[in-house]
């Protein structure tokens, strides 16, 4: 018996009026695989990521997470999949600015397991992994962009998701911070999760095991 892919996109299409940034895109991601999706700005990479991350419904096509047809599930079940199965890292870190780094990281675990203290100690461990334990009580709004992105990585991984989706994770960082964030992401994901990174940065993509290119709304091997 073969293990099913972590995630599959089948003929995914997303239309906005007469424009289709994603038009029949198909994709399979295996466990522990790291995949880069390359393409210029505005080519539909982020929309594809939102479709795979259950943040935006497709106009047609399927997203299978394991064996589950995710978009056929009710909204509450999709929320549960986002909580347990998927981890997000956005281009602009998108931390909750009024929470501390530690609270930001703990949030998904607290939501999933309902235990605040356990979630906070787990958050401390993840912040240690990304080298920010000392900064754990700092408000997210006071972190540097690089630090905030590493906190976002810790938050994406705390529930040990099967699939990590990252949208231009180093897009707003200088080269030194980019390397550090990428290392943190790859190190964390190599332990457990498949990683899908959307980027226009070829150098970043070269660190991943597979590269796809988005063109005319479709995916092809780069």
């Amino acid at each position: 018996m073969t293990t099913p892919p972590i995630a599959r996109a089948r003929e995914l299409t997303r239309r906005f009026g007469d424009r289709s940034p994603v038009d029949g895109a198909s994709l399979e991601i295996a466990a522990k695989e790291s995949v880069a999706i390359l393409g210029p700005s505005g080519c539909g990479k982020t929309t594809l990521l939102h479709l795979l991350g259950l943040l935006e419904p497709p106009s047609s096509g399927q997203v299978l997470l394991g064996e589950v047809d995710a978009w056929a599930q009710p909204a509450a079940e999709r929320a549960r999949l986002r909580l347990s199965y998927i981890g997000f890292v956005f281009q602009l870190n998108n931390l909750l600015g009024h929470l501390s780094a530690r609270e930001n990281v703990a949030l998904p675990a607290w939501l999933k397991h309902g235990k605040r203290n356990a979630a906070l100690s787990s958050a401390d461990q993840w912040l240690s992994h990304v080298g920010l334990f000392e900064r754990r009580h700092e408000h997210a709004a006071r972190l540097s962009t690089g630090e905030a992105q590493r906190v976002a990585i810790a938050r994406a991984l705390i529930n040990e998701p099967q699939l990590v989706l990252a949208d231009e994770p180093t897009g707003s960082l200088d080269s030194k911070n980019s390397e550090s964030v990428l290392e943190a992401l790859l190190a964390a994901c190599s332990q457990q999760a498949a990683l899908l990174v959307v980027t226009h940065d070829v150098a970043l993509a070269s660190h991943l095991s597979r590269r796809l290119e988005m063109r005319d709304g479709k995916l092809s091997e780069a």
Binding site: L55, A75, N94, L96, H98, E103, R116
Partner: protein, 394 residues
């Protein structure tokens, strides 16, 4: 579904993140509660004063009249019967005659009320002088209105005329009593006492040749709420008499209380509007300002119900915090109005009533209004699509 601890944590942190907005929100609720608490206390005080004037210092809780004729025979025997009821504080027979008062060449028509001097339950408030003693043949108490018009004071001598025969179809001189009397006291009372004369019942009844009769019996109760039931019992026990509870017998009093309740309801509605509209606007603006955070929460796995709960609990927290501050302010205002009453006239004073319901009712209204005001912003938050926010489309 997120647990309450997490929902509360996020709601509280959301509020604290924008201290100016949260101050405005709490002030909106506190203002409503702070207005309504003393308002309700004064309203209750007004109603209590009204009942005190119309019932305790008026014609009593149950008013008893003869079903036929103008007099109740054996009034003292009936008084004793009535006093045997556990809820009765006092039964006071009153003989009422039309009459007039003459002083300094001015004659003024007035009803004359004759009641036993010893009773402490009287349909007036003694403002000056002393009450009548039992069997006082020369003493009279004069209402403030009459006293002012005729220039009377305690110790003044007045000429009192009373129509003694109430069944005669024609009057002759024998039916009219003429008495030189001394003003023993000046009395007040919103429900007629200020325009009336009060004399001793034994004196007037003897003069009228009906020593044990009364025109009415005022029954004073320990609890005003029992008047209706007692009136019914008296009507069954004493079928020759007609007993009416104060609410049925005094349309002015009943309608004044009804008007007070209506004004109270209007005031509550104003509080609901004053609390809910600013709250709705501010919470809605808060939702708009937090679209990115809402999108992040959705991406992290918060469901629509979780997000709805976070924003609704924000409204609840604001409602509770505002209520606490509003109650403190309201308590301060009650203390102020207790030392500076909103109305005071001839001993008729409206003092705010300090009781739990004066706080509980506005708090429940404010929290209810806050929750109602929070529903729409919370609903909008829960329905927000995360993807457009991340794409930067607003």
């Amino acid at each position: 579904m997120a647990g309450f601890g997490l929902v509360f944590f996020l709601a509280l942190r959301n509020l604290l993140a924008d201290s100016f907005s949260v101050v405005l929100l709490i002030v909106a609720v506190a203002g409503g509660v702070m207005f309504q608490v003393p308002n309700l206390a004064n309203q209750k005080g007004y109603e209590a004063a009204l009942i005190s004037e119309g019932v305790s210092l008026g014609d009593g809780d149950v008013r008893i009249r003869p079903r036929t004729g103008a007099s109740i025979e054996h009034a003292d025997t009936i008084r004793h019967q009535l006093s045997a009821h556990a809820e009765v504080a006092a039964a006071v027979p009153v003989l009422i005659r039309p009459g007039a008062l003459k002083a300094a060449g001015t004659l003024a028509g007035t009803p004359i009320f004759a009641l036993d001097g010893q009773t402490s339950f009287r349909p007036f408030r003694l403002l000056d002088g002393e009450p009548l003693k039992s069997g006082d043949r020369d003493g009279v108490l004069v209402g403030t209105g009459l006293a002012k018009r005729l220039g009377l004071a305690v110790g003044s001598t007045v000429s009192v005329r009373a129509i003694l025969a109430v069944t005669a179809t024609t009057l002759d001189d024998d039916d009219v009593g003429r008495f030189q009397m001394k003003v023993r006291g000046i009395v007040g009372g919103t429900f007629g006492a200020q325009e009336a004369l009060f004399v001793d019942r034994q004196f007037l009844a003897t003069e009228a040749g009906q020593p044990d009769t009364a025109s009415m019996i005022y029954v004073y109760l320990k609890d005003h709420g029992l008047a209706g039931a007692l009136a019914e019992r008296i009507n069954q026990q004493l079928p020759e008499l007609q007993a009416r509870a104060w609410l049925d017998d005094s349309p002015y009093l009943a309608s004044s209380l009804q008007a007070s309740h209506s004004l109270g309801t209007v005031s509550e509605a104003m509080v609901v509007c004053a609390v809910s509209f600013p709250l709705l606007a501010l919470l809605y603006i808060s939702v708009l300002n937090r679209r990115r955070d809402i999108g992040v929460m959705a991406a992290l796995g918060f469901g629509a119900r979780d997000i709805f709960a976070v924003f609704l609990v924000q409204a609840l927290i604001v409602g509770i915090a505002g209520s606490v501050f509003g109650c403190l302010g309201g308590y301060g205002l009650i203390l102020y109005f207790q030392s500076h009453p909103i109305f005071e006239w001839q001993g008729f004073v409206i003092l705010p009533v300090l009781e739990r319901s004066c706080f509980l009712q506005p708090v429940l209204i404010a929290i209810g209004a806050a929750i109602v005001a929070g529903v729409y912003p919370a609903f909008r938050a829960s329905r927000q699509e995360p993807a457009p926010v991340f794409r930067g489309i607003t």
